[in-house]
Assembly symmetry: C2
Homo-oligomer: 336 residues x 2
């Protein structure tokens, strides 16, 4: 019997259709690689990108577009938003619009063109997560921006257009709708229970232990109860914290995050080699102060070709793989 | 300068990024066709599908799986939901779930394997829209169901797995989240203004006349103000009506709907040959009575490969084509 499950935060219902059950090897993977050729993100080609806004050399934040960087952040050469100008909010009859002011940056995650995110050493990955933090902190000072989306498109099917390992950042003058729904859902739970819904989820998941992929001292990776796609994973801090920035100040925390991220992606990669995926950081809005009801986390969503097209238009998903089963595969992939 | 636009019903912000402006010929179309071979939807193969639940022969509703049908509706052989059983609603700690009870049907739109939806004669297309109505009416009598989603995936990139022209129907015991947001947004506008927001949109669009693709006596096709993708189109009845079923009782209305749908898709096809797309019918929940604040309509969303993957996960879209420009192309495609 298929099952309908409701995401407790968003109220989004999804169908777990066991009748269409699949094993990891049943998924057809579109080629994850994108076209090669000249790479503007490779060392030596620094002049082909706009000047860097942040880079780490020998573990230290530097600037100058010189060589020997470990992680490098540059403005997107073809930005979706413009950094210069004012918001110019206005109406057009009943419609609302404003200028497309914002930042659009590329986080080059490593110098070697052929390294994969999931294969980077923990210490190096920690630098990537430090770059997210440092860029967030810097962009927070611009009062025009209300939110910074940090995300990665890996593989052509997931929207990547460059092969060299990178993530992206978009600073926005508005809140994305999905985040608004998430804040609203979490807030109404908090009003009713006086507890953070994500803290309750973590407590229940650790107790049930059927959807926990892995844990370390500071983080937990779960298959969410109502996943949109097979092998969707969420990485959450075990201690309550609403903002990524404030919570990742220490090297210990960055290293723990890098460790669990790396382990989670390695497990995924072992289950479905070359799987394209997107991940998105869900954190509090800029300058919002600590929120009792929200809990920052990453959502990793594999992009599998068997997922039909209408679903993103309707907010309604059919998933052939129960998360409890996905969890088993993910656990056994490294430990089995 | 890029522009941020807010969908007035959903509150969804999208970026119109003119800097990435494209012409219709710039879009790379993944092959729309899906794999051929044996087709269970072709005449003569009626025994390879579950028994039909509705078919028109000589314009009359019939049953029996015989030949000479014009439009045929059959249960999906691999349904996402099961028709038999009770809902079995229950909690698992803080999570909610229920049995996956529902209907999943395939509307075979024409007998000829090679006919395209957009190329069907108006009278034939009217039969397809009549099938939607008649199935809605029948499923409404089942008290377990709260909503019927009717949609079409055309082309492989849009999720189609059969080539023979068909649409699908899923009867659900819950409301899809996107519809809940739409009802909520429309209702809060109505509370404030005492007017249907869609009626206001139609009035403003006819006045401005920059996003009107085509009209006839009963329907209007517009490029919405904040489209998710290039060439997104909405088809709305010009008179207020919240439910598809009650509003399409007359042959005149079905013919008018078939005419504008056909014209709209023909314009799209002329702009971007073979473009894969999804369309979804947005109508009121089953047995809800006439709603003053909601207005039924179709949303047609082309699936263009240049649209990145993370967007459906975040509810945040970047669209390289302003709808005013898309409208120009769509208008000129047949008239120019």
């Amino acid at each position: 019997m298929p099952q309908l499950r409701r995401d407790p935060v968003l109220g989004r219902w999804i169908i777990i259709s066991r009748e269409r059950r699949k094993r990891p090897t049943d998924f057809v993977i579109e080629e994850a690689k994108v076209l090669g050729g000249f790479c503007p993100l490779c060392p030596g080609n620094e002049s082909f990108t706009p000047p860097e806004v942040l880079a780490y050399r020998n573990g230290t934040a530097t600037l100058g577009d010189g060589p020997d960087w470990q992680v490098r952040v540059v403005p997107n050469k073809y930005p979706a938003l413009m950094i210069e100008g004012d918001l110019g909010k206005e109406a057009e009859g009943l419609y609302d619009r404003m200028n497309g002011i914002g930042a659009h940056e590329v986080i080059v995650e490593c110098p070697d063109h052929h390294d994969m995110f999931w294969s980077l050493p923990t210490e190096h990955l920690a630098l990537v997560f430090r770059a997210y933090r440092d860029r967030l902190k810097d962009l927070e000072r611009d009062p025009r921006f209300r939110y910074v989306m940090i995300f990665k498109n890996y593989g052509k099917a997931a929207g990547a257009s460059l092969e060299h390992s990178h993530s992206q950042l978009i600073a926005l003058p508005v809140l994305p709708r999905m985040l608004v729904s998430e804040f609203d859902g979490a807030e109404s739970y908090f009003r009713y229970k006086d507890r953070c819904i994500f803290c309750d989820i973590i407590r229940q998941e650790l107790q049930q232990n059927t959807r926990v992929v892995c844990v370390n001292d500071h983080f937990i990776t779960i298959s969410p109860f109502a996943p949109r796609t097979p092998f969707e994973m969420w990485i959450l801090p075990r201690q309550h914290a609403s903002g990524y920035c404030a919570h990742t100040q220490s090297q210990e925390m960055l290293t723990a995050l890098a460790q669990i991220f790396s382990e989670s992606l390695n497990r995924l990669e072992k289950c479905i080699p070359n799987v394209p995926y997107n991940f998105v950081l869900h954190t509090q809005p800029l300058r919002s102060g600590e929120m009792e009801h929200f809990h920052w986390h990453f959502e990793i969503v594999p992009k599998l070709t068997s997922i039909a097209g209408f679903e993103w238009g309707s907010g309604f998903y059919i998933n052939p793989m129960p998360p409890e089963e996905a969890t088993k595969y993910l656990r056994e992939s490294l430990d089995g």
